[in-house]
């Protein structure tokens, strides 16, 4: 399942990169970017399929059975190029971009971060590391245990509860979808605003943005992102520890895409259930 997700994410990333390069780069460069990415995608898919042949659904008896020399290097093979994509995309994001271009770059970054996390999760599973991992970051001294847990990649635990808001919507699926769209927009605005506020060391701005996003997170009961926003709001009024705030911000940016994806799936599930109940 994880591998399928990884391949899907890879396709999403390819799609975003293709859109971006076709609209924003000269044709020659766009083709080059496309070729580079296609090669990269093929290599990763080859590595994945060679270690997990399609149709082989039988789970290994223990973790050591699933280890192979290729898998041992899988992490580096995947993570290094993804790291390059994240690095280059971050640099690109710093340059002057139109809103549309910025959206593409954000999509590339979000997908790359998910890919990186998934890749780490896979390599974690194949090695014997049982310690929780902070998504995309090393564990930071002084971080509360609840925060470490909240940013841990579990892929299992449900991170939100849409039932209360669904009840408040009186079963109106269109309203629920509208609210989710608004939440997504608010979250992206939050990510953009806080990035600028962090650069400008504008703690008041960080506090205001965190305060605002908290309401939506509370409404949808998205506990992990709410914990992060809560901490940022608190820090903006107390310690003003910029390094820790940057860390929290990165956690939010890492965590958000996966949460968004899970919320989308949950909305589809709710709608399907509603249709089944109705028919």
């Amino acid at each position: 399942m994880k591998l399928e997700t990884l391949i899907n994410q890879l396709s999403d990333l390819g799609f975003a990169l293709r859109n971006f390069s076709m609209e924003s780069l000269p044709a020659e460069e766009a083709v080059r970017v496309h070729q580079l990415f296609s090669n990269f995608q093929s290599e990763i898919e080859f590595l994945i399929r060679s270690t997990h042949p399609v149709g082989n659904s039988k789970a290994p008896v223990n973790a050591s059975e699933s280890l192979s020399p290729i898998q041992g290097n899988l992490g580096n093979a995947i993570q290094s190029p993804i790291g390059n994509i994240i690095g280059c995309s971050s640099l690109l994001k710093e340059s002057e971009l139109s809103l549309e271009q910025l959206e593409y770059v954000n999509a590339i970054l979000a997908s790359s971060n998910i890919l990186m996390n998934l890749s780490r999760e896979i390599t974690d599973t194949t090695s014997h590391h049982s310690q929780p991992r902070i998504s995309g970051k090393d564990h930071m001294p002084g971080i509360p245990a609840s925060m470490a847990q909240s940013t841990q990649i579990t892929g299992q635990k449900k991170k939100f509860d849409l039932r209360p808001v669904w009840e408040d919507c009186l079963g109106e699926a269109m309203l629920l979808e509208e609210l989710i769209q608004l939440f997504k927009r608010n979250s992206l605005e939050f990510i953009g605003e806080v990035k600028i506020h962090l650069q400008q060391e504008n703690f008041e701005g960080i506090g205001f943005a965190s305060h605002k996003i908290k309401n939506g997170l509370k409404m949808l009961q998205i506990s992990e992102l709410l914990t992060i926003a809560d901490q940022m709001d608190h820090l903006s009024r107390t310690d003003k520890d910029l390094k820790y705030m940057r860390f929290l911000y990165d956690c939010f940016v890492d965590e958000y895409p996966q949460t968004e994806r899970e919320i989308d799936l949950e909305v589809v599930r709710i709608k399907n259930q509603q249709q089944n109940d109705g028919s």
Partner: protein
Amino acid sequence: MDHNTQKLLLAEDDELLASLLYYRLQKSGYAVHMVHDGKKVKEYLEQTIPDMIISDIMMPYFSGIELIDHVRNVLKLDVPIIILSSAGNEQNVLSAFELGANDFISKPVSPSELLVRVGRELKKR
């Protein structure tokens, strides 16, 4: 329920919450005008006197506190005002009551609770 002649002004900068409250209030038969910042509130009040104002405290341009002050002391209106406030804003809530707010609801707001409070305040009139 039909409250078709009762006009409510809903001022909330969080569009997510505002949309949900707007839907529920409309569904209950109120005529709701929704705005997302204090400037729009002032503009609306220059033209219309609502039967009730439901307002967030922290809003861009013109806060909920300034709004209450404006309504009570500049426009000299007696319309009921319900304040929406986040936890930790107790000082603002006290200021709001001192300036003449009639009620307040803590966020996250339950639409059902809001409907009960709105109905109760309007019944007093």
